[in-house]
């Protein structure tokens, strides 16, 4: 029994979830009373249903909207201040979200927009439009809408059209068959619904028996299956009342059409009616508006006038008179092809019968051909290019006015084999050398060439002599042209350096010829010009090519020297004067070699490191959870500076400004400076060398270095400033000067660097130097140059010292007088204050020494008097500089810098130490 009960329980089907088992002592929940069973919406507002499941809840008084009071009045906001941004409220603004939801009063469906909707025309709409067009006061206006409206053709259709498809055709390869099946003849169209299909087809086949074999036709269009669902409750095939019939009525005509079949009659449509009766449009009819004042009341009583009857038996009756009007339809229709027939069958959806029979196509007769016309194109005889008939050809060419200009524009027949091969992307034949010349020795070839030339010259001479009478055809002989061109080009060509300018790059042979040509032209040779032209070509061709070459050379000249250096690449927009240049560019051009050497010597660190200010994006900082290092700046990335597009300073490496300019960067500056003056090794570098010896004072150095960092900073920003300042303000003249200097100075040889970095000049430690060092650590820098000068140890220390001070002073006082200015520029270089005079010293080592001393003394003298006036002059200088050029500004700055540096010379030269330190490491 127990088992059975269990099985019974298993058999039971339980619905729903079981109630929670009641806890002990828990009160049973009271059922919610009916009046409290309210419906609330998502926001807790009451909703009162009006009966339906959805929809119709009231939001008014009883079902208060929002609050108890009903509508929440929007808080008054004075529009005094914000009149402008008053928004136009749409109905949506007064609707709840629920209204817009799926079951709301204005549901927002996801619908396909017009762009993506199918382009099949909405038939109902179309019909409505048609009807509207008919009924409208001005009939046919909707037709204009079609004309004006944008065409909505899908891409597919467009593509098909481009591929040659036309409406009404099927898609697929063209088929060999008869055209008439696709477009039935108008004659066959007349079948009047009774022709059995098989018969008509057969007759067609027989009729169009002769069709050309090679004519193909587009495949039949496939009628798509109409898949529109039946949504109404009408019977199958039901069509609503035809408005045209309803409006205009067809009654009263029915009985008149005696001779046409009833089936035809039923298909009488709007257009026909309108034509037959010039009635007014509008609602008229038997039941309406029949009054005494009605003018057109002919229909009302439907008078049966005789004119409506056929009084004469026309020849529409079969001519043989076999049947009379009772003849079978088939017979009738066959016999009366010309008659106007009504289309009987179902009119396809979207189509309506033409209201007007199309006007007969006017056939224009083809133009009458001239009697001697031959339907084959006749090519004019080609003149074989050759020496004999080149004149003829030329004359022909000129007469036709088609002077071939460029081989690229010539027709394909004008290409030679190589060009064609190139166009086809074929590789060059690897066969034996194409010319016998290849097998000849150099000498033989030369000889051959000369022989050839000679013969050609003779030939040409002959030709020229022949030409002279009829020179009309050739305005200038090649020689003349050459002279002319040479005159034009003149010296320009002389300085046109060899370059990558390849006007005939497409045709390598021609290019080669051209290059040779230019070379010879530069040398000023005359006759050799001819030599480089292709000897296989005709005289005329060669002349032409020569002309071409001259032109090319001319063009090349103009573009080359002045512009090409600037047109290396289109980095910036053409039409802006100023461009954004990263303020600190990684100086690739100049110091990458230094870096490479540094890497080679494994001197990583300062030398290989570039430090830039970099502004991270604010959001980036936020995401990294880091405070923005530059909270005020709006710059992102490397800071950029607006500069003149063609300023020299974009191409020069401006010494690094800002942030922590370390000794390494100073070192770099010097190096770049030394690049500018290859033969003048920087004073600082030399001092480096010395510094190596000065290990003893390394503590002092390390102390001083920290200072140097501080004190080094001022000069560099000023240099930077001068760079930007001049670039903006200065005439390009100065920039050019700078540039020239730059250009003059090539790259120093690698030995220099090695000498700077590697050389262990420990053996040079002379007592004199050390004593100097101890006496005057501040002047060590200047002194270094003197020691370097020629390893002259026996120069008196006082002398050296003097020279040192002199040089420093020369630095200071080099400006005021123009002569000294020149000196200064020669010595200093425009940009960088330190590292000047040493270079000169080194250049002329021994010989210049005396001279230098003399100079130094001179300067020493001048210095003294200048020192007295120093303060005064500084002011003076400023005014002067302002008055004259602004380019003195950098120099002034530099001079002031040097004064600074001279004050703290020891600091300065300690800065040069770092690479040595690095080396030691």
């Amino acid at each position: 029994a127990v088992e059975s009960s269990d099985s019974e329980e298993e058999d039971l089907v339980s619905y729903g979830s079981a109630l929670q088992p009641l806890q002990e002592g828990e009160r049973i929940k009271k059922p919610v009373p009916l009046q409290e069973q309210t419906v609330k919406d998502a926001k807790g507002r009451y909703q009162r249903f009006h009966g339906a499941f959805t929809g119709g809840f009231s939001a008014g008084y009883f079902n208060t909207v929002g609050t108890k009071e009903g509508w929440t009045p929007s808080a008054f906001v004075s529009s005094r201040q914000k009149r402008a941004d008053r928004t136009i409220l749409g109905p949506e603004d007064f609707m709840d979200e629920e209204d817009l939801s799926e079951f709301g009063i204005a549901p927002k469906h996801i619908t396909t927009t017009d762009d993506f909707a199918s382009k099949a025309k909405d038939r109902i709409k179309e019909k409505a439009r048609q009807i509207a067009g008919v009924v409208a006061p001005i009939p046919g206006t909707t037709a204009f809408d079609d004309l004006i409206g944008p065409s909505k053709i899908t891409v597919g259709v467009e593509l098909l059209r481009k591929m040659g498809w036309k409406e009404g055709q099927g898609i697929g390869p063209r088929v060999k068959r008869k055209p008439c099946r696709q477009k039935p003849d108008p004659t066959v169209k007349v079948y009047g619904c009774a022709l059995p299909p098989g018969l008509s087809e057969g007759s067609e086949d027989e009729e169009d028996e002769y069709q050309p074999e090679d004519v193909t036709f587009a495949p039949k269009d496939v009628m798509p299956v109409d898949l529109t669902p039946k949504e109404n409750v009408h019977g199958l095939g039901y069509k609503g009342l035809d408005p045209s019939q309803a409006l205009f009525g067809v009654s009263g005509r029915e009985h008149l059409n005696l001779f046409t079949g009833g089936s035809e009659e039923t298909s009488n449509l709007l257009g026909d009616l309108r034509h037959s009766k010039g009635r007014k449009l509008g609602i008229t009819g038997q039941a309406f508006g029949v009054g005494a004042l009605e003018e057109e009341d002919d229909d009302i009583y439907a008078p049966d006038t005789l004119s409506k009857y056929d009084t004469v038996l026309k020849d529409e009756e079969p001519g043989d008179g076999l049947y009379g009007w009772t003849a079978p339809k088939q017979y009738k229709s066959k016999k009366r092809p010309e008659r106007e027939f009504k289309y009987v069958g179902k009119i396809l959806d979207g189509f309506s019968l033409a209201s007007k029979s199309s006007a007969p196509i006017k056939i224009y007769p083809p133009p009458s051909l001239p009697r001697n016309y031959r339907p084959v194109h006749y090519f004019p005889p080609v003149i074989i290019a050759g020496n004999e008939n080149c004149h003829l050809q030329k004359a022909l060419e000129e007469s036709t006015g088609k002077l071939e200009s460029d081989p690229a524009q010539q027709s394909r027949h004008a290409l030679n084999a190589a060009q064609r091969r190139e166009q086809l992307g074929e590789t060059e034949l690897k066969g034996p050398a194409p010319s016998i010349l290849e097998y000849l020795s150099e000498k033989d070839r030369e000889r051959l060439k000369e022989i050839k030339q000679a013969s050609e010259q003779q030939m040409k001479a002959k030709i020229v002599s022949q030409q002279s009478p009829n020179s009309r055809f050739q305005p200038a002989s090649p020689e003349d042209a050459a002279h002319k061109w040479r005159m034009l080009l003149g010296a320009q060509l002389a300085n046109a350096g060899s370059s990558d300018f390849k006007p005939f790059a497409k045709n390598p042979e021609k290019q080669k010829r051209y290059e040779n040509f230019v070379k010879s032209l530069k040398k000023g040779e005359k006759d050799t010009l001819e030599r480089f032209l292709d000897p296989n070509m005709t005289e005329w061709e060669r002349g032409r090519e020569q002309e071409e070459f001259f032109r090319a050379a001319m063009f090349y000249r103009s573009s080359n020297s002045t512009l090409s250096s600037r047109f290396t690449r289109a980095k910036y927009e053409d039409d802006v004067d100023k461009v954004e240049v990263p303020r600190d560019q990684e100086a690739y051009a100049n110091d990458i070699d230094d870096k490479e050497t540094a890497v080679k010597m494994k001197m990583f660190g300062k030398l290989t490191r570039d430090k830039f200010e970099w502004h991270p994006d604010k959001l980036l900082c936020k995401r990294f959870n880091i405070r923005d290092p530059y909270p005020d700046s709006s710059v992102v990335g490397l800071p950029k500076v607006k500069r003149d597009k063609y300023s020299v300073f974009n191409f020069l490496t401006v010494p690094e400004p800002t942030t922590s300019v370390t000794q390494a960067t100073n070192e770099k500056i010097q190096e770049s400076n030394s690049l500018n003056k290859p033969k003048k090794p920087s004073r600082w570098d030399v001092s480096d060398k010395e510094k190596e010896k000065k290990d003893s004072i390394s503590e002092f150095i390390s102390l001083a270095r920290s200072k140097a960092d501080v004190q080094q900073q001022p000069p560099v920003p000023t240099a930077e400033e001068c760079g930007t300042g001049t670039s903006e303000t200065l005439p390009t003249l100065i920039a050019n000067e700078d540039k020239n200097q730059e250009e003059e100075s090539g790259r120093p040889p690698m030995d220099l660097f090695k000498a700077i970095f590697v050389s262990s000049s420990d053996e040079k430690s002379s007592s004199e130097e050390e004593s100097d060092e101890e006496q005057q650590p501040t002047t060590s820098e200047r002194e270094s140059e003197t020691t370097k000068q020629a390893d002259v140890p026996d120069s008196s220390s006082s002398n050296v010292q003097e020279s040192v001070t002199a040089t420093t002073d020369s630095g200071i006082s080099s400006l005021p007088t123009s002569k000294q200015e020149l000196d200064a520029t020669a010595e200093f270089g425009p940009k960088l204050p330190p590292a000047f005079s040493s270079g000169r010293c080194c250049r002329h080592l021994e010989p210049s020494r005396k001279e230098k001393h003399r100079k130094i003394r001179e300067r020493h003298k001048t210095k003294k008097e200048r020192k007295r006036k120093k303060e005064k002059k500084k002011k003076h200088k400023k005014q002067k500089n302002k008055g004259k050029h602004k380019n003195k500004k950098p120099e002034r700055d530099s001079s002031s810098d040097t004064t600074d540096s001279s004050d703290s010379l020891s600091d300065m030269d300690t800065t040069g130490l770092s690479p040595k330190e690095l080396l030691r490491r």
């Binding site: 990583f604 490191r609 991270p616």
Partner: protein, 188 residues
Amino acid sequence: FLPGSIDSTVRCWDCRSRRPDPIQVLDEAKDGISSVKLSAHEILTGSVDGRVRRYDLRTGQLCSDYIGSPITSVCFSKDGQCVLAASLDSTLRLLDKDTGELLGEYTGHRSTTYRLDCVLNEQDTHVGCASEDGHVYFWDLVEGSLALSLPVGQGVVQSLAFHPRLPCLLVATQGQVTLWREDTFQPE
């Protein structure tokens, strides 16, 4: 949030906002970026133009260290003081992060054509690098001596990753990924 790396730029996208455009593009590199590493406040990139660039967001600086040969891989040391850079001249270089000085150089492996990874082990005691001869090389970080060459496979060791905390190495070669642990390791 992730910075991705493409054609000579590093682009930083914000994954939280769904903007398709990067919030910042680091386009300082002159050639392709081969490696990108992140620390708490830094973005470290190695580029084929032979430079290791470190974007320090905290100080707002870009430090670019010139190595010379194309960088294949970069990584931070665990203490965040050093930067390890592998380049195509078959050399690993350990650079001081702050000064850019060379702290160590590790050679012996072969890396001339492929983009190979370099790693530091979990305690920064050894430096590891994949090689084109099918080994993974390990050097002592301080001494620079070759500590171990681990034969992994025949072909190029394409990828290499070290567990951040455990002595555990993941190596990918020629379509197989192998996991290396110490001998004493007992899998649970």
